[in-house]
Symmetry: C2
Subunit: 353 residues, 2 copies
């Protein structure tokens, strides 16, 4: 698979469709699995990892299941290409920065990705746009069953699926929903959401998962417990709480519009103005401003922009994407200039300087 082909398209999950897509960017489920016959990656030699990688890659590419998968040998990729896959949420930082034989199998639409030799032998992921945990679960469950027909998973009757880290043991499932909550952040109500989620053992993380900062008002809500509950129960836990957060964000947006429309519009219009005019801009500021613009599109305060375009710009302005788009390595200051050019081109059709 040619990585450069990916830059021309954007993953299905970015196209901005799906239920509640004004607030829910994407729904994601991942399963941690290991093969019974091999030491887990954290204990395996490179030779064993190579064997596992080859075996799993072959099995995955041969699956008689929905979309065709393509494999990428992550160890063969340069740093920019690896970072590019991280930015697209197709691989984790851990797989990107890891050592030894490791690969990822991806579907053309980018909904499916299976990492091999990350922390576990297999990290199976399905990603959909909008709030659609049901579809996401159906697809990952089917994929998981298909894989299990060709390999033997490490499974204990007592502990369930066995994983490198005990926190993933049991179902091995992580259910995450990526939310865009600008109004709750603006009004500082977001703290109440964090507290409520903590009480029911749900975690809140930034755009790029564990350890990442929340940027541009994007938050991932996910389960922490994987043991002692069924997959359905865990999904339901998340599924039940998300509509409350959506309703809360909508309520606060409506309140802002009805009580302070002018200032809200001002903030959004200025953000849009800066994005269309800046000559150099950091990734952080871009996320921050695009977040305002995204809310503006949702509230009908910006007419001429599609949500899908905003979502795409959020990813395309990340460092590795910019470098792939430009076809050259760029230092941080050069990226800031390239980012500003890209934004002006996308938002005004003007491509100067």
């Amino acid at each position: 698979m040619n990585l450069n082909a990916l830059i021309e398209t954007s993953g299905e999950w970015l196209r901005g469709g799906g239920p509640e897509s004004d607030i829910v960017v994407s729904s994601r489920i991942r399963l941690a699995r290991n093969l019974a016959q091999f030491p887990f990656p954290i204990r395996a030699s490179d030779a064993v990892k190579a064997e596992v990688s080859e075996l799993l890659c072959n099995r995955l590419l041969d699956l008689d299941f929905g979309p065709q998968l393509y494999s990428l040998d992550v160890g063969d990729l340069n740093e920019v290409d690896r970072q590019f896959l991280v930015e697209r949420q197709l691989i984790s930082r851990e797989l990107s920065d890891g050592v030894g034989p490791r690969c990822v199998c991806i579907s053309r639409e980018e909904n499916l990705s299976v990492m091999v030799n990350e922390e576990d032998h297999l990290r199976v992921q399905v990603l959909h746009s909008g709030f659609s945990l049901g579809d996401t679960w159906s697809q990952i469950s089917e994929l998981d069953d298909n894989i299990e027909q060709h390999v033997t998973y490490a499974f204990s009757d007592r502990f369930g699926y066995l994983t490198s880290c005990p926190t993933n043991c049991g179902t091995g499932i992580r259910v995450s929903v990526m939310l865009h909550l600008p109004a709750l952040v603006l009004t500082k109500e977001i703290q109440k959401v964090f507290q409520a989620l903590q009480k029911i053992s749900l975690a809140v993380r930034g755009l790029y998962g564990e350890g990442s900062q929340a940027m541009g008002d994007f938050y991932q809500v996910s389960n922490q417990v994987t043991l002692g509950k069924s997959e359905q129960q865990i999904i339901e836990n998340v599924q039940e709480v998300i509509p409350n957060i959506i309703a809360y964000e909508r309520r606060v947006r409506n309140k802002l519009v009805s009580e302070n429309r002018r200032n809200l519009h001002d903030q959004i219009a200025r953000a849009y103005g800066i994005l269309r005019n800046a000559q150099t801009i950091s990734s952080e500021e871009t996320m921050h401003l695009l977040s305002s613009v995204r809310m503006g599109v949702n509230l009908g305060l910006i007419d001429e922009l599609e949500m899908a375009t905003v979502n795409e710009m959020l990813i395309q302005t990340q460092p590795a994407h910019l470098q792939k788009l430009r076809g050259e390595d760029l230092q941080s200051a050069e990226r800031n200039v390239a980012r500003a050019s890209y934004l002006r081109e996308r938002l005004t059709g003007d491509f100067t300087g």
Copy 2:
């Protein structure tokens, strides 16, 4: 004269022509004069002031001199109209806020204005765009001679022209040049200019003269001494120093362009973007951003804008101008919205909200 007619036009001095107009906005000379036969305004009763006002108004309107003058009874004007004249630099804050009979005679082109019963009986002013103290002096000198043919000025062989405040005594002249010095402000080199001017007894003030803050990087340089030197010497003092400040500002602009073009362009482009998109904006921020845009026009970093438009916007976005344009009294928050609308309309042709 109908004040509303003025709003449709802009004074000659705003049209952005004249020598060195990239840096010198305008050249201004004013003369303080009093009539020998009447107590000075600070000691005069309202009856005397009324007599002086009528007498001088009649004389001024009858002058057989260049442009026809029109008179405005300042005491008759409401607060917005008075503030409007202050913003156009046709009258001083002192005349606007004063009490008792007082008036101003103005030429249609707004180059000439004669205040009656400000601190002195007469404050004669000539204002030209760009750096043109020579023309300004010729015109005010001719006007002064013309007036003197019809009245007797209070004059002492020892002290020269007598004035209410001793600091104006002698020549009664104030020569001011309004400079736009954004690069010197940006690099903090402006402090050196202040120090140098102080040493040669020249004063630096903001846009609206004495006591006003420098806004948007606009500074008025003027003489402090009026006694013991001839008018020509005083004008020469200012005339000689201004080219050095112009050269200094140009040098620093060129340095910024050659060493840090990207960041300078970024600052200017963002300012332009905010002005074209904001939904509410204060007078202070507007001045600040227009200052960047003005430099951008001069440096060729903004193509589609005329300097005259920028100069005009600096005045038209002032509180009283906005209210005259809208034809209604507006509170501060309403003015901020009206100002943003006006700027969007002027800069993008878009007039919504």
